[in-house]
């Protein structure tokens, strides 16, 4: 995170915010809770309601593993690459102990047989191997922060993949697989056994180990392989006489294996996104749970065996009953490889809309930080197979009211065979979702590079413009209903435009919908959508236009464009001349539809800078160096539910809307002001104490005030916690006296106000918020008296 005075960059997005680093591992604590590592924190979910109950926050780096403490099932260990292992009470969300290991930890294992010892995978300094398995003896100490210094190496060369190592029957041995080697370490004999496989067998299978699981009751190790085979190893305490049997159902790599607690079943999953349940010793009997949505990355089973959970590559956890039926789905922001569609805001639900599951658009509520639903655009069975060209949603656009959604899907098998579909979806009031209205197959001969709706609010007809690499732009219009009643209105092509056989790149409608700007390489053409006349052309050599954007509200006479020759130009459409231009390498330019502001992202030396400015003056209102690492690929201004009243000049641009953006590493980021963050923090703290004290305006007001009086010095975040109402004598008297013996309101009011006044107002802002609170409180008070 980046600190910048008042405004901060904050990550957003559901369960696993750092999906690119780690797919979260879910573990069960009992049937009621599910723990999973998510970014810098551990989340505790309820298995029945799918809600997040606690965020266990203390780690300063990625959480790599979560594990139940074998001796106490109400506590859990978590390990992180920050070099610490922390012990939590997850039911109450309290950090009990922190063990400092000192090396980044990539996974953690324990066993009931080894009390007081943790097995962790850490990187080695040795050149021959990258990671080693180390036993850490936890010192017995009452302190909260304990430094563990007693290490002993167990296995010298292991994989960092947490699924590739496992404890066997009652902790007697530990098995680890890496590459083509399976290593079993017996603690009694203090001796490892190694088993090797050939790289490729005759049938062209790949034998590389991907994961393993040990049977809890039996001497059996199940290993998953690159070619989809599962091998069950037995007799492995002999160097020579070991045996294995092979099970083959998966067609590609097995990514996770898990035995049920009694060892009766073996669960396996992979890229096919099918959960397979094998009966132990009757391997021909299999149960399947197909179409789980995305590749399975991890499988876990609850200690009583009643629930399974699978975590998926699309930031999702599925909770499955032991009868192989899905019982709950915990879904965060679906993350793909890239956001092909732009970031958009649904005008109706105010949800963020972007690519979701393959072939879907996801609607993500920013206010509640929760996925609302996935809209199936492609409507085809998704085949989970690597190397297969699938239909992808590449463009999407909403009209001004959210009544229409246009999507473009494409599938490129060969360079010459491009399959394109333009689909138009109408919002259905009854079902409250989008219904397919028109499908236009092959709307253009080449890839569509931009698409936008006419955003005018008063025009009768809606116009959609799509711009393609085939050198044309097409205007689509909603044709009136045909004569028969069963057929509703549908979309058809209204106009095809081209300019000197140049290739168009971007298009943009002016705020009132009276002008359409289409950029043809180095020339910007301005058209009138009413008559489809070419009104004027603007050109500013050199450089092809990269972004095109009309000004909003009072600045609607300006048209801004960026070129690939590092130029940001602003044309005045009244005079048809260049107003100003500046040399900037702008990678992304967008306008805030709720104010005159424009945001420009400049990519420089691996970092992205943000400039916010008004088109009327070429001086930035706000600039932020190094917003994030890498390039910002997409951004959007989302409207706020409630307008902020910040008066500071640098944060004024955030009053009407909030800027969300996605980096090339698929992180969703936003800007928040300091005041906003404090409010959020306070509300979350209030939730914690809410069970002890009823939340009334009084408690909030009095708690705040007494805190200010008492702890002016304490500035840490913990001090923010709201205190219980104590209040002055006057307030206590007022609250405790029965209503019917109270003196008149006018008499009480002055006394009450006096008791609430703050002697010194050193901070004007604070003073105002308190005053606001006071108004609210007084209103409540008056209504109570009446």
């Amino acid at each position: 995170m980046v600190e910048h005075g008042d405004i901060r960059v904050v990550h957003r997005g559901g369960i696993a915010r750092y999906c690119r680093f780690l797919c979260e591992r879910g573990i069960f604590c009992c049937c009621r809770f599910l723990l999973c590592g998510s970014g810098y924190e551990v989340k505790v979910f309820s298995t029945s309601t799918e809600e997040c109950i606690h965020d266990l926050r203390a780690h300063t780096d990625l959480v790599t593993g979560v594990l139940l403490r074998p001796s106490n099932h109400l506590q859990a260990y978590s390990c992180s690459t920050d070099g610490t292992v922390r012990l939590w009470d997850y039911t109450d969300g309290i950090l009990i102990k922190t063990y400092v290991i000192g090396y980044p930890i990539y996974s953690i294992y324990t066993s009931a047989n080894h009390s007081g010892v943790l097995f962790v995978v850490t990187p080695t300094s040795d050149k021959r191997s990258e990671f080693q398995l180390v036993a850490v003896h936890l010192p017995q100490s009452g302190d909260q922060l304990v430094e563990a210094r007693e290490f002993s190496a167990v296995l010298s060369d292991v994989s960092s993949n947490p699924a590739a190592t496992s404890f066997g029957r009652g902790g007697e041995y530990i098995a680890s697989a890496k590459g083509l080697q399976l290593e079993v370490y017996f603690f009694k004999k203090q001796k490892p056994y190694r088993f090797f496989l050939k790289e490729d067998n005759k049938k062209g299978g790949k034998n590389t180990f991907t994961c393993l699981a040990c049977h809890p009751k039996d001497d059996c190790i199940a290993t998953g392989h690159e070619d989809g085979k599962i091998r069950l190893w037995r007799n492995f305490n002999h160097k020579k006489e070991y045996t294995y049997t092979t099970l083959h159902w998966h067609h590609s790599a097995v990514s996770s294996l898990c035995f049920t607690p009694e060892g009766t079943n073996l669960l396996s999953g992979g890229i096919e996104s099918v959960l397979v349940q094998w009966r132990y010793n009757q391997e021909s009997q299999r149960d399947f749970l197909p179409r789980l949505g995305a590749a399975i990355t991890h499988i876990a089973v609850s200690p009583d065996g009643a629930l399974f959970c699978t975590s998926h590559s699309d930031n999702k956890i599925t909770i499955i009953r032991s009868s192989i039926q899905v019982s709950a789905v915990i879904q965060g922001l679906v993350k793909g490889d890239s956001v092909r569609t732009d970031l958009m805001v649904d005008p109706r639900s105010k949800a963020l809309v972007l690519n979701g599951k393959p072939g879907h658009l996801q609607f993500y509520s920013l206010q509640r930080d929760k996925l609302l639903y996935n809209l199936d655009i492609v409507q085809q069975e998704y085949i989970h197979q690597s190397g297969l060209e699938q239909f992808e949603v590449v463009k999407a656009a909403f009209d001004a009211y959210g009544n229409w959604l246009a999507t473009v899907e494409e599938r490129k098998q060969k360079p010459t065979e491009l399959e394109l579909n333009l689909k138009l979806w109408a919002f259905d009031e009854q079902t409250q979702s989008f219904m397919l209205n028109t499908t236009i197959s092959a709307p253009h001969e080449a890839r569509i590079t931009a698409m936008c709706f006419c955003h005018s609010t008063d025009s009768q007809t809606t116009v959609l413009v799509s711009v393609s690499k085939d050198g044309h732009f097409k205007a689509w219009q909603l044709a009136p209903a045909t004569h028969t009643e069963d057929e509703g209105p549908s979309w058809s092509c209204d106009f095809v435009g081209a300019y000197h056989s140049l290739v168009p790149e971007c298009c943009c409608f002016s705020a009132d919908g009276s002008l359409l700007a289409v950029s043809f390489q180095e020339v910007v053409t301005v058209w009138s959508p009413a008559s489809w006349e070419l009104l004027t052309t603007l050109s500013q050599p050199p450089g092809a236009i990269r972004n095109l954007c009309f000004g909003q509200l009072t600045c609607s006479k300006y048209l801004l464009g960026t070129t690939d020759k590092n130029l940001l130009c602003c044309w005045n459409l009244l005079t048809c001349s260049l107003e100003w231009s500046t040399s900037m390498d702008v990678s992304l330019l967008l306008s805030d539809p709720f104010s005159e502001n424009m945001a420009a992202f400049c990519c420089q030396a691996g970092c992205t800078d943000l400039f916010v400015f008004k088109p009327s003056e070429p001086r930035p209102l706000f600039s932020h160096k190094a917003v994030c690492l890498g390039k910002v690929t997409r951004a959007v201004f989302a409207p706020r539910e409630k307008m902020l009243e910040s008066c500071e000049e640098t944060s004024q641009w955030l009053n009407h809307s909030q800027l969300y953006f996605v980096t090339q590493y698929m992180d969703l980021l936003t800007f928040t002001t300091k005041a906003e963050e404090d409010r959020l923090m306070a509300s979350s703290k209030q939730l914690v104490i809410s069970d002890s004290v009823a939340m009334t305006p009084f408690s909030v007001l009095l708690g705040k005030r007494s805190q200010q009086e008492g702890q002016e010095a304490a500035s840490s975040l913990l001090a923010e916690r709201t205190q219980l109402p104590q209040g002055s004598a006057a307030v206590r008297e007022l609250l405790q006296t029965p209503a019917h013996v109270l003196p008149s309101t006018s008499f009480l009011c002055s006394m009450f106000v006096e008791s609430l006044l703050i002697s010194v107002t050193d901070n004007r802002k604070k003073g105002r918020t308190i005053y606001n609170y006071f108004i609210v409180a007084q209103q409540h008070f008056m209504s109570k008296i009446e």
Partner: protein, 509 residues
Amino acid sequence: MASFKPTKIPIYPKLGEKVTQDTVYWKNYKAPVQIKEFGAVTNIHFSPVAPHNYAVTAFTRIHIYGPFSQEPVKSFTRFKDTAYCGRYRSDGQLLVAGCEDSVVRLFDVSGKVALRMFKGHTKAVHVTDFTSERYHIFTGSDDYTCRLWDIPNATELNTYQEHTDYIRCGVTSKLNRDLFITGSYDHTLKLFDARVDKSVITMDHGQPVESVLLYPSEGLVVSAGGRYVKVWDLLKGGQPLVSLKNHHKTVTSLCLSSNGQRLLSASLDRHVKVYNTTNFRVVHNFDYAASVLSLALAPDDESIIVGMTNGVLSIKHRKSPEESKEVSHQQRRRPSYRVFVKGKNYMPKQDDYLVSKPVREYLTKYDKHLKKFNISKALDSALQRKPEVTVAVIKELDRRGTLKNALAGRDEKALSELLHFITKNMVDFRFAPVLVPAANMILDIYRSVIGQSPVVDRQLLYLQDLLQKEINYQQELLDVLGMLDTLFASSVPRKELLCLEGMNNCTLG
């Protein structure tokens, strides 16, 4: 867990005419009943009273047909020469007809012999009609005159000699006893008022007028002549309202539908066209075997009766509601008896909580196979279906990357079936993008076994021939397109281009 998504069958835009409410309405007629008359059927007129018999004038006879009879109920045969324009009076009791021999005859519909003979015209009388007060007859003749006759005395009341050519059509007003309109080969329509001795309004049609029609409101008059149908506004003193040119031969007859919303015109080009009277667009078209001379619609559009030059009278009756519904009933598959017999008569009480059974989704056979990844079987079962379905399944297999596997490993019979489908549908432009790669794949797969089966070889040769033809055809089409482009380019005015360039110069400057 999502359920299996069945293969999406794309809906291809239908070529040809769109199904509109009008086409549904006008197609809802049974197959025509054809009756051979002695000569060309020149006029058909419906009796205004039930049971709405109609008089068909053909050659020297007038036949009266009942609404459902195929035999004439009655015939009037006492004409010396060709009869013209047999028309009923508004009470359905009397019938008037002109004749080539210039005598106008008045019949009682129950009698046989003419009640009155009106003699005075010097040439053939092509137009006869009753005025709305029922005691006068109006006639128009080839002697350029039109006359009014009194029925009781059989005397001539008035003669109008304004037309300068044959009067071939005319109609009396149903609301005003004194008004009538005539159309003549002198290209004019004239509105006469019996109270004055001359025409009140004259409208120039531009072609010899063949038919005249008054709207029920009598504010508009429709005339047909030459290839044109023209609508005139009488209230504005005969201003032309619309001119329709939808036929490519002379329009001979006009008729309004029962609700007055549609206008029908019949022409020598063998078509009957239906117009919407609000925007005067053609909404439907009937084709007939010969040139149409006369046209009439039964009240409530119960039947369309058309008379043609070859003497055939074609009668189309409207389908009864049961008949038109029958088709859809047959298509719907009923659930089995067993499902309904249990609790059939149980009525849910007020507080009952209704639990609806989850609707089971049925997959088609090919989808079931696709779900199980049985690709060859899926293709086999899809080949039995409509070509749209088969092509969609082939596309789906291609998307899954398993089309080659599905096409391979076929015996002679299965392969010839596949080739048969491909040869049948490959040149269809809707399917070609999918089927051409599939055909390529088949050739690749079975290259080694070509020559072993005469059946397959024959089909392959046929396919080659077909492709060659298609290539030639496309080549020719491209040639034509090139020619058209040249024509279009030369017809575009140069002005716009100059204007654009000027604007560019301005902005650059």
